[in-house]
Amino acid sequence: MDLSTSLGLIAPELVLSLSGLVLLLFAAWGGDKLARTISIATCIALGAAFALVAPAVCAGASGPDRMAFGGQFSADAFAGLAKLMIYAAAGATLVVAPRFFERLGAMRAEFALLVLFAALGMSVMVSAADLVTLYIGLELNSLSAYVLASILRDDERSAEAGLKYFVLGALASGILLFGMSLTYGFTGTTSFAGIAVATAGGLNTGMLFGLIFVLAGLAFKISAAPFHMWTPDVYTGAPTPVTMFFASAPKVAAIALLARVALEAFGTQVDAWRQVVIFAALLSIVVGALGAIGQTNIKRLMAYSSINNVGFILIGLAAATVAGVSGMMVYLAIYVVMTVGSFVAVLLLRDAEGRQLEGIADLAGLSTTRPLVAWCLLALMFSLAGIPPLFGFWGKFVVFQATVQADLVALAAIGIAASVIGAFYYIKIVKVMFFDDPADTVKGEADWAHTVLLVVCALLISPLGYFLIPWLGNIATMAASSLALPVV
């Protein structure tokens, strides 16, 4: 395979990195007064990358001719679908962020660029077909994310979030690297295809340790229990648009990466990692649900909610079938929409002086003071709880369907029963908005861009979203089939 073909396959990443470098120069010389322009230019770059990826996803691209650079980088439909979600979530972040930072007087030129580089890192992550590519993508994403978390330099909580994220993230990277080195040492290769061949005959102790450490490191990145501790603090401390970004795009990337490592590299040893994934899945569901109950800050609640949702996504991975991975991707897509919608709704809550409100108590009586926001948030909450006919139900449905088809009925039954615990705090938000007397703290006027985004998200997860199922299910299945899945 010659270089030009390889370059063609990484065209979206090339667009992102080149525009990132050019815009970086503008930011360096132009300063913060160019912030808005750079933000718009970044959106355009993400849009261009989106357009470049879309054809491969719709065509269900797969096979050896989608591998670039001698099998280090895979531009298949699975990676493509994950990239579409990542670019969309990053774009949504850039739409809502400028107004938020401008109100605080902290709109910096580098914000959009950091989002762009994070998106680039994630893009490399989901395409990684080699442990080295994996690590480069992961670190590019993580380093951008650490800075993003602490971008409000004057705000103690933001700085604290950044530091916590950095320290714990570095630890997780260490664990991951340790696992990777063990894997390399015992298999003699860093490529996923090579690892699959080397492990086909069974795992020796070294490989098993490598697998466990790699899984642990990645579990940190997707904030699956028991590696979730950082999530509530970072999500609460980071500026809200950044939290929205963290809860959506990196989740997609890390989960897609985890799926690829589990299924492509260790695909012949499903039984070895399935129990780990099942354990993390069930624990995440329970920890996410129980942890959320006592929260009074809505961002913290959403952090636990994301832990909870990761549990359901992992249940799809545990099935280790095309249907399971497809269900996982459908769930992820719906989850991204729900998360973006919920955080946009949070961004719309401001008091008379324009300060952001984050307390759940501030939502009281929202249905009379801000009916539009309240009804959208109602739909989002019931959707997160997985109540039909909202679209969130469909995500759970396909995941559990795949699990039952893979004969993991007990896992499905336990998982879905635990989802009822989670329903409690979602309906608590509805209760606060609809049943309580108005707190009358939400005063600020709504930005039209935020409102439009919120309404679009609410419409997508409303029963109207079901019209997308044929299309979404189709591309998710093609994406899942493009992974080299184990023959069960």
């Binding site: 039909p388 006919p389 029963a417 409690f424 309906i427 199922i469 044929p470």
Partner: protein
């Protein structure tokens, strides 16, 4: 009627009405809601009139393949027809009952009720098991809002309890459904009703469905959400809850548990009878000591629904017919009783029985109608309650004389608590001046109660109208259950009828 998608139209009318109600002011919302429910009632009458008794098992069938093996499939048999009729009949009455009682957020209230109607009709008409689940489960959202926003003082506790109890029951059912569809290779309810699942698997499947339906019915001991929800819901909310939502559980048993898992149903018959017997005695006794009218009627609902369960699990035609008739009758009667409570609650704003008394003097029309519904609840011959309870108990006697014996005490206890309630409210001295000053039924209230009274008497005097559409379906179900029906302990032997003349007159011995 061929080709006209009447069931879809029946779903669309209230749905459009619900959306419209969200955007208009209170008076317009009331009118839209009333119009939408009346149109649905008219469509329901057309549906019944065009239902071909003795024709195909499934009529008015509509089917469209959607995606991923998911079908939009509607169709009804006689059982579903009767329950849809019950829903569309009660809905305009609910709207009428809320005409003045609801003053805040009228548009949203009416929208929630119309949405409930869509979901109830959809649940009864769905022919795809997942479509059924979506309709069945989605009902939680509007009901949660109805109880939580427009309910009484303790509404939030009741709303949580209602939501979480019902949710945990039904999610396990979803897993069971996924397994069944995977196993049988079809999600069509008519096909699944003919599919023979492995008896071992049936046990678990039955339990999963039981978890859902037992909460909805509700069966003792998972009935505790019902009194709370009823007491806190607004009058119309109680009517729809008792009238139709509880029937979803019974419908689930007759549509899913019995035909799909006949062996497991027989295996668990004693569990069902046992819980039902416990419910009849315990909740009747609890009803006897209530001071709150709504709570009393709520507990009586649990007792009546237990007799439904006893009838359905009698594994014979009488029992099944009886169970269905009690469901219809209880839907009407308990709905009417909640309306009767609502009438006096609107005047005095208390549900405490002791605050009333002697209402027969100042509210004679009210007293007459209330008496009729009290008697129907007890099961007096000539009212709908008698037909259902008699058939049910006759059915269960053939299966188990003990279950019949215990369940029958429910009739006696029912008479006790209902007559005691009636005596305290309508008879005796007018001890409370404010209660004595209450005006009699208004024209609107009369208009709400009179149609129910008429149907209660109709069903009591000529139940054939209601039994005829269901007969063939119940016959089919009975045939399917035949192979598994548990052995009877009553050992009924149909002996030679002794001619009256053959009995020796013994007078001469005196």
């Amino acid at each position: 009627m061929a080709g006209f998608p009447i069931l879809t139209v029946m779903l669309l009318v209230p749905l459009v009405g619900a959306i419209a109600c969200l955007f208009v002011k209170a008076p317009a919302a009331r009118l839209i809601a009333l119009a939408a429910t009346l149109i649905d009632l008219a469509l329901g009458v057309v549906l019944w009139a065009n239902y071909d008794i003795g024709g195909d098992q499934w009529q008015f069938v509509e089917s469209a393949n959607l995606f991923a093996g998911f079908r939009y499939a509607l169709g009804i048999d006689g059982i579903a027809l009767m329950l849809i009729m019950l829903s569309v009949f009660l809905m305009p009455i609910c709207i009428g009952a809320s005409w003045q009682a609801i003053q805040k957020r009228v548009g949203e209230y009416m929208a929630a009720f119309l949405l409930m109607e869509v979901l109830m009709i959809g649940t009864f008409a769905a022919q795809d098991i997942f479509l059924f689940y979506i309709f069945f489960e989605a009902g939680l959202i509007p009901m949660y809002l109805i109880i939580g926003i427009w309910g009484g003082d303790n509404r939030i506790y009741a709303a949580y309890k209602f939501f979480l109890y019902t949710l945990i029951g039904s999610v396990l059912m979803l897993i069971a459904m996924l397994w069944m569809v995977n196993e049988a290779g079809t999600s069509a309810i008519p096909d699944l009703m003919r599919y023979d699942f492995d008896p071992g698997a049936q046990t678990l499947l039955f339990l999963a469905f039981f978890a859902s339906f037992a909460v909805k019915v509700p069966m003792w001991p998972v009935h505790t959400w019902l009194p709370d929800a009823h007491v806190q819901a607004p009058t119309a909310g109680s009517v729809i809850l008792a009238g139709v939502l509880l029937k979803l559980g019974g419908y689930g048993f007759i549509r899913f548990s019995l035909p799909m898992f006949p062996e497991a149903s027989a295996q668990f018959a004693w569990l069902m009878w046992g819980l039902a017997m416990a419910a009849v005695v315990i909740t009747s006794l609890i009803a006897l000591v209530q001071h709150d009218m709504k709570k009393l009627i709520a507990y009586s609902s649990v007792a009546h629904m237990a007799i439904v369960i006893v009838g359905l699990f009698a594994f014979n035609v009488q029992g099944l017919e009886g169970g269905m008739i009690i469901m219809l009758s209880h839907g009407l009667v308990s709905g009417a009783l909640f309306l009767c409570v609502g009438v006096i609650y609107d005047r005095l704003h208390t549900r405490e029985i002791a605050r009333y008394g002697g209402l027969a003097i100042n509210m004679p029309k009210y007293a007459v109608l209330f008496l009729l519904f009290t008697m129907a609840s007890i099961g007096l011959p000539g009212t709908s309650g008698f037909v259902g309870e008699f058939l049910s108990l006759a059915g269960i006697y053939q299966a188990s004389s003990w279950a019949a014996f215990v369940a029958t005490t429910g009739i006696i206890l029912g008479a006790a608590y209902m007559l005691y309630l009636y005596r305290r409210i309508a008879f005796g001295q007018q001890v409370n001046a404010d209660a004595a000053a209450m005006p009699d039924l208004s024209a609107r209230e009369l208009l709400l109660l009179a149609p129910i009274a008429a149907v209660v008497l109709w069903m009591g005097v000529y139940p054939e109208s209601f039994l005829a559409p269901m007969r063939a379906d119940i016959e089919l179900l009975d045939q399917r259950l035949d192979r598994a029906a548990p052995a009877s302990d009553a050992d009924l032997v149909i002996g030679e009828a002794a001619p009256a003349a053959a009995v020796e007159p013994a007078e001469g011995a005196h």
